[in-house]
Symmetry: C2
Subunit: 215 residues, 2 copies
DNA sequence: TCCTGTGAAATTCTTCACAGCC
DNA sequence: GGCTGTGAAGAATTTCACAGGA
């Protein structure tokens, strides 16, 4: 990501900032539903377990959205954050692996509701291929590259056994996917222009274990 | 966590450090399986996408486990990290919510294999109560507190709709649970002696969306 | 007066660099 | 010669504190 290409992000944005923006967005949506017209950095901070200065600093990387003495317009700030996060459009998502986790995800409401459109599902198991999950039929993973290219999928969710995750990730990268959400346990090696996030259940459980063992 | 109570952790340990220890452990297990007797900080760093200095610093918070000029004994370091993370014992886990995600988790191999023993599963739906999931029968969530206390469960996995997550988290805290893995989207308010980690699918997808929108 | 936006200070985390031991 | 352990330096992130506009 070059620093000077985008009119929005002038300098590199830290991951914790993006993470908090996602939280703020959720709160803003709640506030909007509750009919609140404006909101202060202090109120956002309160629900997000952070400080008002942090909220203002986070937002300041992207512009000046508030009014001194007043706070932020709830609707306008919501729209701004949605735009910043790239949520002012839909993204095409494929799910690889139609096992327990993969199929739970495929049927997950929140996905489509939040602009992530599941356009393809893949599995190796011939017994699963051809079945429908929430309106999308399961394809043989053999056809991964061709189908991903044809669908122009941008994001892939990886819910496959850890020993095949790396191989699939490489194939996805070559097929033009630039973002991967990985549910396996080992870190993936991917080209520099591919972003990987992992949902590592084992790691989270171990962090909890550490907290319990050392309290 | 008091600084002076434990013989292991002399100063407060940063979360990124714990996170990396969990990664190192996974690599060490791979190295052990591959029959490697020793391993250097550089090798661990390489697979973990970090630096050798970082690996040594992380370990140095807990002791001196290596031999200069040689590296670390694979088996010994594995054992040390397991002990540091509290994985030299089993933890009793309850799963609340036997929907798609909850039941996928209940049947998840890796859980028991890594010392997290699922001793209870709860749901509100009377149609689900009484059914077995991987050897554990689903209990009515009404009996949550009593059963959690009786089982002496230490960790809870929350896979319930977001609007009830806070209520369940409060009940779990009162029933003696000190660690919660939350799959819902809103941050939970819990007493200071309860650790919460969240697996927030929406947030991870939004971070990917941000990366795509700003690359 | 209230609350934002932001440089400056403080804190936290990572990297450097080297003495010390195998 | 190779690799650890660790203070010190450097970088990144958070918090402070206050000027300034509604």
């Amino acid at each position: 990501m070059k620093d000077f290409t985008s009119p929005i992000s002038v300098k590199r944005i830290a991951e914790p900032t993006v993470r908090r923006l996602s939280l703020y967005l959720r709160f803003l949506e709640d506030f909007e539903k509750a009919g609140r017209a404006t909101i202060s950095s202090g109120e956002l901070a309160h629900v997000g377990h952070t400080t008002s200065a942090q909220v203002r600093k986070d937002l300041s990387f992207f512009g000046s959205f508030g009014k001194r003495g007043l706070g932020y317009d709830t609707g306008a700030l919501t729209a701004q954050i949605r735009r910043i996060l790239g949520l002012d459009r839909t993204w095409k998502v494929v799910i690889v692996g139609a096992g327990k986790i993969g199929s739970a995800l495929a049927q997950h409401r929140g996905f489509r509701e939040r602009g992530f459109d599941v356009v393809g599902i893949f599995d190796v198991d011939p017994h699963r291929v051809g079945y429908m999950l929430d309106g999308v039929s399961i394809s043989d993973v053999k056809g991964l590259e061709a189908i991903v290219r044809r669908l122009e999928a941008e994001i892939a969710v990886l819910a496959v056994p850890p020993e095949v995750a790396q191989g699939i990730a490489t194939r996805l990268s070559k097929a033009g996917v630039h973002a991967i959400l990985d549910f396996s346990t080992e870190p993936l090696k991917v080209p520099a222009d591919v972003t990987v996030r992992s949902m590592n259940l084992a790691m989270e459980m171990e962090i909890l274990s550490f907290a319990l063992a050392n309290r």
